[in-house]
Symmetry: C2
Subunit: 702 residues, 2 copies
């Protein structure tokens, strides 16, 4: 037997190239994936005997570990019904194979006439490593692009969920008189592919195309395994928790590069620390010595006392490596590196950053940055931010930001527009040490953090990040805006799986898999955050809403159903009866609630209060949104009743929006938001937020 049939282990041990179709399926079979009945043969008589053994009709294929496109090369003959047809096909394929010069043998298969064609596969993603793919197969696989991914390993529940993600998932059900696909076998197939990916780092790509469905049973009819030993492996450094106390709850802090000059970072950082009421020891370092804001200044790091927790280093880029070493020598546990001019700029900067990273590794110090805008820890009354922010409002929201915005203008926007506060805000900068995975792990156990919002453009340790996130998202909402997702890396594609795997698709699948809720609008980092200050995420996606307008009811119902994945369910008869009771009889009440007639008859406050109460008490409802009518003519109610309703229904979020006059809407916001009842100027916004947070709750309860 030639290389087409050499043992799988031997074939896998080769450095590159691919397995033959036969070998590929042997490997699949080893992992419990059902493959078509087939026999490898070289001689005509063996081929004929194989057909007899398998039963007619058969398929004859040429099989070689050098062959990728046998259909295009004519090296396949389908539906052979008798020895004559098989012999003819054998002669034709023999002479074609001879022309190609490929080394191989013949593969005789039972001919399976399936009723559906699927595709499944494995790809080694540069970020996440082994990922499996599943979707619609056949000749249109790539044209349709209806596939979905998972990073291995994954749970059975994840495999089950994956099957529901296809646009055309209904073909897995009963289809044109054929039974539903055996989901158990499909799941076993997908999990087998995942195990192959984990067990065999030498496999770069694996395609099962088609995975044919016959009478409900999936069978791998063709398969291709591509090898590559040169797969980069992620560094396995784990989450380090030491030094994080020094970073977020420092008992003592030194500002290296402190200055008396107004408007300089080395001055503003001191003001920020003082403005936030920091209670630990504050040391200042400047070669000139003297005093700044009345405080004595040390001339060098060496002059500092031993055992300071944290140093904020505000020095030119080149001075940073030495400063780190000096800090470490004095027993400083963590540094914040404010300087830019490293890898984000040019190659010189990259070299400098490598030197910096060496200093950090050698000393074992914890480092945030470089190129960070600093971090904030309001429970500890501390910030290392050097943009003049003043006192930051305290609250339960934490941000992990691969941008300086949350220490500059975006934070200013939050502080001046919103009524919520923050717990920890982390500007990651260039991430030579402390990265988003460390941040996530820290915030997971942080009692002051109720919800985590991230803006990230890259992942320093992608697999570790996913592992960490998978745990965190069970405890707290994690919402992420992933920047840069429109720039898909072009991939050299041999197999379907690779052709269909884009950076964005795999990232989307990976985040979903670990319960991170992805958003696509920067503003939602703020709009969704304020909904979590006092209230939990909604238990599900079932919303009731009240509006003073049929048009708004209709338009918002459309939006919920068509775009946001929310349902507007029927309420219980008891609820409906109560709604009817408060309303004139000419309108038949239901959810969504047309509150205008009730408001016209009984006043705005009565109508909204009783209407909201009714739907809040309904077990089919997870969240309630009133569109408050606010005009002089229709009456502007005292909104205390909303605070009361929020108190008595702490399990169901209430988000407020408006229609009417700006002055009343502004006043309502200023009254409600300090009490943790979020308000939104546009009527769509509360629903967008519900859509995000219902997904968070789903992740927490998975």
């Amino acid at each position: 037997m030639n290389s087409a049939g050499e043992p799988v282990e031997a074939a896998l041990s080769r450095a590159a190239g691919q397995l033959s179709e036969y070998q590929s399926k042997r490997l699949l079979a080893e992992y419990g994936i059902p493959v078509v009945d087939e026999i490898l043969a070289e001689k005509r008589e063996d081929v004929l005997q194989a057909a007899v053994d398998l039963g007619w009709p058969v398929v004859l294929k040429y099989c070689s570990s050098q062959l990728t496109h046998k259909t295009e090369q004519g090296l396949i003959a389908l539906n052979l019904n008798n020895p004559e047809e098989l012999k003819e096909a054998f002669e034709r394929l023999s002479s074609l194979a001879a022309e190609t010069g490929l080394e191989g043998a013949f593969l005789v298969q039972r001919f399976i006439r399936g009723d559906r064609e699927l595709v499944a596969g494995l790809i080694r993603d540069p970020l996440f490593g082994p990922c499996i793919m599943f979707g619609l197969g056949g000749i249109m696989t790539e044209a349709l692009g209806d596939v979905t991914f998972r990073v291995a390993p994954f749970s059975r529940a994840q495999a089950e969920q994956l099957l529901q993600e296809l646009r055309s998932a209904k073909i897995l059900g009963e289809f044109r008189g054929q039974p539903a696909v055996d989901r158990e076998i499909l799941i076993e197939t997908l999990m087998g592919l995942g195990r192959i990916g984990l067990d065999h780092p030498e496999i770069k790509e694996l395609d099962i195309n088609p995975l044919v469905i016959r009478e409900g049973r999936p069978v791998a009819v063709d398969a291709l395994v591509i090898l590559d030993r040169e797969v980069p492996k992620e560094a396995d450094r784990g989450v380090r928790t030491e030094g994080l106390g020094a970073l977020f709850e420092p008992r003592s802090v030194a500002v290296i590069g402190a200055t008396a000059k107004e408007g300089k970072a080395g001055n503003d950082v001191i003001k920020n620390i003082l403005a936030n009421g920091y209670r630990g020891d504050l040391h200042l370092v400047n070669p000139k010595g003297g005093r700044i804001m009345g405080r004595r200044v040390a001339a060098s790091i060496e002059d500092l006392p031993d055992g300071i927790d944290q140093a904020i280093i505000i020095l030119p880029a080149q001075a940073n490596p030495d400063a780190i070493r000096a800090c470490a020598a004095k027993g400083i546990k963590a540094v914040v590196l404010a300087a830019g001019g490293f890898a984000e700029v040019d190659e010189n900067g990259s070299s400098l950053q490598e030197e910096l990273a060496r200093a950090v590794t050698e000393t074992g110090i914890r480092a945030l940055g470089p190129n960070t805008s600093g971090h904030t820890s309001t429970p500890h009354n501390f910030t290392s931010s050097f943009f003049p922010l003043g006192r930051l409002p305290k609250g339960p929201i934490s941000y992990i930001a691969q941008t300086g915005n949350f220490a500059t203008h975006t934070m200013r926007s939050i502080m001046s527009t919103e009524y919520y506060g923050v717990a920890r805000v982390i500007g990651l900068g260039n991430k030579i040490d402390f990265d988003e995975t460390d941040a996530l792990a820290y915030l997971a156990q942080d009692r002051e953090t109720k919800a985590i919002f991230c803006y990230l453009e890259s992942l320093a340790r992608p697999r570790l990040f996913l592992e960490t996130a998978a745990e965190v998202t069970k405890k707290k909402p994690v919402v992420m805006l992933k920047g840069g997702s429109s720039e898909d890396g072009a991939r050299a594609a041999v197999a379907h799986t690779a052709a269909l795997a884009s950076d964005r698709r795999i990232m989307d699948a990976a985040l979903r898999q670990v319960g991170i809720v992805q958003i696509h609008e920067y503003s939602h980092l703020i709009l969704a955050a304020k909904a979590l200050v006092r209230m939990p995420p909604p238990r599900g996606n079932r919303v009731a809403f009240l509006a003073p307008s049929g048009a708004m009811l209709v338009a918002l119902t459309d939006l919920c159903r068509l775009k946001l994945g929310l349902t507007v369910p029927r309420v219980e008869e008891r609820t409906r009866a109560r709604l009817q009771e408060i309303s004139p009889s000419y309108i038949r009440m239901r959810n969504p609630v047309d509150i205008w007639p009730a408001a016209a008859v009984s006043g705005v406050e009565f109508a909204y209060r009783e209407g909201m109460k009714a739907v809040l008490e309904d077990p089919n409802i997870d969240a309630v949104v009133p569109v408050l009518m606010m005009t002089d003519e229709t009456g502007v109610p005292d909104l205390t009743f909303i605070l009361d309703l929020a108190d008595t229904h702490p399990d169901k979020p209430i988000y407020i929006t408006f229609s009417g006059e700006k002055k009343h809407m502004d006043a309502a916001r200023d009254f409600l938001e300090p009490h943790g009842v979020p308000t939104y100027p546009l009527i769509e916004q509360p629903f967008e937020v519900l859509s995000i947070l219902a997904r968070c709750r789903g992740a927490m309860e998975r």
Copy 2:
């Protein structure tokens, strides 16, 4: 020859049922649609001769005008290569056909092994009449649902555009070594289907499935025509322009049901008319006579002078029909019917509405309503609104609203939050006479109206509406929120075309086809409107933007590309050089523009002014959005430069958004918006608006 082969005209003349496959394809062929070579035969010898005439291999099908699912019934044999196979198939189908008892004959076809399968069809939509369908065919047609629609008739350009709308449009190009599909033949096929739909009202559905592609040429391999004479036909009443002057520019107006009682509609309407500075004659009618606000009151309609233009009737529902007759008798040309309690309420109301409609038809008077919230015509200083609104701001935006909101709380919201004004605002009410088509026709020729925004839940005369819209949208932007689109009517489906045709899909296609830009958020009726007050819609979808944050640049670029259909193109080298000139050298400038470094070095005003100027002058850019940084620390610029840039670049819209402190953002809005430069609090909003208005411009220039 039995009914399977009776002449097409004879078959079509039957009242119901369907055509046989053979007849269906004869009809297609008459309309220039390529069909497979085939011969109808009854006897075995004729079948064999047919195969010889057509050439091997062939397909044998049983053909009957009573047969719909021949594959499921086994009445088809593919790929018959010789007389033996054909004879065997003939015997098998003969006995199967005998079992079914169907009357029919045998259809012998050339066997076409295609490389792609498409589907095309025709459906008679209850709203729009004949609509064609096109998409991905084969056994997965319905599972994939990748189809698109057009209302017949449609232009060649529309047919061409339709081909680009499929998700998997790339299969029409070169595919797996096969040439691209002949688009000319495809277009002829689609237009032929459209003509069939227009010529044959008795055809209810028509399926071509599959439309097989072989070597780039489409061929109808199977077809099914379903007949139904009972298709409802739209009343053909055309657009009536008489009386519209009396409605929108009345020289004299009577309020029937005027009252001195504060807070009543019959009082508020008078106040509104006076508040808006109406200059025509104002008459009041109330049985009590006397005076209201110092004006003499007539005791009855009969007591009014002759020849008044318009009457606003604010009377109980039951009194309306008589009032209309009385108005008509006095020569009043148009009435506004404020009362509710008609078809929107119950069956009694429906009867009353029918009586009302009779009064309108008999008298020939023009009527707005009933159940209308009135209308507004600011160029004429007039309103019939009876919700206390005061003086409405004048401007170029007109609204057609199937809701009272634009005469009540939504208008209040606009008046108190926004700086733009309106021209005509029409609350359609129950549309017994004046409807959205009349409104569109009126606004099309209205010099005061620059852009039309609609909220509609139904179309009174759907085909006429489309015809009218097709012309209007070439002149002015028409933006529509179509309410109720998530409640798809369930359709009894025999054919694929019907199974795939949902109300929403056809509505979406119809609106797109005539250049109406559909939106899905109520708030966009306001956010998009204010962008058109001073500026034109953007010439295309190419946007440049400037932001003080890499994260915002990345997140907004993703949003533009992935969700909004906008491009963020490369700028010319000259533009790039200018951007580089104003910026520190460490950052390489491009579009989108990172303006923070330039602002840090040269100040916010200089950086934004010069940056915006550079991209505004670039021929690759259609619109410019700066995210203005507004904090005390970074400096708050004098924004006069933005007005100057808007003056010097009147062809390119500039929309403003912000990051920073609320007080500065509010001040900027209050400064810029009165000059027609729109501002948006959230950074995503200007891009959402650009996406909408670029589509409007595309429609205008189609």
